[in-house]
């Protein structure tokens, strides 16, 4: 029986931290010069968050992960935050060409009238370019997660993570959950407003050029 915390802690310090630094530089280089990227960040999943995720249960109440060190694929998480919804698509197209992904999905609520988390997620193979020959092969993760979101989607997910997934002051009430959905709808509306304005400005600029 391995000590999961100690094993992950060693992986975190020996490989994940330097790997995240290398991957961030690599991603910054790919997207250099592209307009309206608010920020790019890459970081390893913290030891506490990894341990917490490794204990997740299925609906049936059994352990979701039988081998968390291999099955948890977001031990390295990369984020690209952009200004407008149109930019999410543009950046996603470049990401599709630049990384060998094994999963590519738009994460959004199932029903069209629901509001919660929105974002574009990729699970990609770690590019060999960011590896160091001296790292022990056995503890290098195989994948990283890349999230591409607007600033409003990002703001909502960061704020709701603390109050929703990691309740600071106890469980959320129905009213609290409704307020979170309302905030998500507001963020969605803000994205739509800016996307519409951006589209209109682009049309006007094209007409002026013509």
């Amino acid at each position: 029986m391995i000590d999961l915390r100690a094993t992950y802690e060693q992986r975190y310090n020996d490989v994940l931290l330097p790997l995240a630094t290398n991957l961030e530089l690599y991603i910054r280089d790919i997207f250099a010069g592209i307009e309206r990227i608010d920020r790019i960040s890459v970081r390893p999943k913290s030891i506490d968050r990894f341990i917490s995720k490794s204990l997740a249960k299925n609906e049936a109440g059994t352990n979701k992960y039988s081998d968390p060190l291999e099955q948890i694929q977001d031990q390295i998480g990369a984020r690209i935050i952009v200004l407008f919804k149109q930019d999410v698509e543009k950046i996603s197209n470049i990401a599709e060409e630049s990384f060998r992904y094994v999963e590519n999905k738009d994460v959004e609520p199932e029903a069209v009238y629901e509001f919660s988390y929105f974002g574009k997620h990729f699970i990609s193979l770690i590019p060999h370019d960011v590896l160091d020959d001296t790292w022990p092969r056995a503890i290098i993760p195989g994948f990283f997660e890349l999230q591409i979101k607007t600033v409003f989607q990002h703001a909502w997910s960061e704020a709701s993570h603390d109050v929703g997934y990691k309740p600071m002051l106890g469980e959320l009430s129905r009213e609290d959950k409704r307020a979170l959905a309302f905030a998500s709808a507001q963020a969605w509306g803000a994205d739509k407003a800016f996307a519409d304005i951006f589209d209109q400005l682009s049309v006007r600029a094209a007409m002026q050029k013509a």
């Binding site: 094994v102 193979l125 590019p127 060999h128 590896l131 020959d133 195989g142």
Partner: protein, 337 residues
């Protein structure tokens, strides 16, 4: 002895109506001459399979039909689970490829699982045996040889089956420039692609080349590298690697070293990818501005804005300014017209 099981199947090309025909296969005993031959293939598979590949996901989900068959086979190794892989190979084998012998070899390397999948093409041969009366010669119709140009293999290895998303393959037809790139082994049967995307690999080559050009002082060496960069456009869409690129243009040892020393690590030099000229140009291209005064300003297209200051003047003219140390200055013959 790391090999734990070997299954082999004779796979004919697909033909209408034979979808339900059972593919013949046997469980190969783990001793004897056949085993010795296959064991050597298993042991050499790491060196022989030199193309890094990855399974292609199905519609963005983490699922791939070929991968599913491979995992099922590893979890329950039997003639029947292996036959499902053979069936898949039949579906992707055309008449042009003729029949082949599929061999599945599974073993453990320490805590790692290792699966080697090989396909031996059919060939003909002559068997000559000396006996008391002289020589006995026979024509052999079905001989399976690894040395043949269309031998193919793939190897997957990791301690966790979760990680069986990437592996390595060999396809001797891909290496042969005289033949069209065969799609059926890597793209069809394995439903995989190069692990390195075109954009990834091309950027890796272009950045290393650009840095190499910038780092060498010797003018001849610089010119050799610039010439290779210029000729790279002719390789559009071709499978190559950083090492393959150096071989293709027969680069000198110093030029090759200059490129290799600008790679992030040694392992990436051999990784294959399809060269994407648009990406290459983006990284290596120079942006040039010519003024009516006769002055040319040239800089790397990607860095142009940061390197060249541009100022609009009231009379419609523009002022450009650049800063740096002079490292080379030459006179060129030019036309005054």
């Amino acid at each position: 002895m790391p090999i734990e099981s070997i299954h082999t199947y004779l796979v004919h090309p697909r033909a209408q109506g034979d979808e339900h025909r059972n593919i013949g296969g046997i469980d190969v005993p783990l001793n004897g001459k056949l085993f010795d031959t296959l064991n050597s293939v298993y042991e050499k598979s790491d060196d022989e399979c030199d193309i890094d590949i990855a399974f292609v996901p199905n519609g963005g989900r983490q699922q791939n039909d070929c991968r599913d068959l491979i995992l099922s086979y590893i979890r329950d190794r039997s003639l029947d689970t292996g036959r499902l892989i053979a069936n898949r190979l039949r579906e992707h084998t055309t008449n042009r490829s003729k029949q082949g012998l599929l061999v599945l070899m599974y073993g453990r390397e320490g805590s790692d699982h290792r699966l080697v999948i090989s396909r031996y093409p059919t060939n003909t041969g002559i068997l000559a045996e000396e006996n008391a009366r002289g020589l006995d010669v026979q024509f052999l119709e079905r001989v399976f040889m690894r040395s043949a140009y269309s031998y193919k293999a793939a190897v997957y290895q990791h301690a966790s089956l979760e990680r069986f998303w990437d592996g390595r393959a060999v396809d001797k037809q891909i290496s042969s420039r005289s033949l069209p790139t065969p799609e059926y082994w890597i793209h069809g049967f394995l439903h995989s692609d190069f692990r390195t995307t075109s954009a990834q690999g091309t950027r890796r080559l272009a950045v290393a080349l650009k840095k190499a050009i910038g780092s060498v002082d010797n003018l001849e060496l610089k010119q050799e590298l610039v010439a290779a960069a210029t000729l790279a456009r002719g390789m559009a869409g071709q499978a190559t690697s950083v090492s393959g690129f150096c071989d293709r243009f027969n680069l000198s040892v110093l030029a090759r070293e200059a490129i290799m020393s600008n790679l992030p690590n040694t392992a990436v030099a051999a990784e294959q990818f399809s060269l994407d000229v648009a990406v290459f140009d983006q990284e290596v291209a120079y942006r040039t501005i010519q003024l009516d005064s006769g002055v040319f300003i040239a800089a790397s297209a990607r860095e142009f804005e940061g390197l060249v200051n541009r100022e609009e003047l009231d009379d419609g003219q523009e002022r450009f300014s650049v800063t740096g140390h002079i490292i080379n200055e030459r006179l060129r013959r030019g036309s005054l017209s």
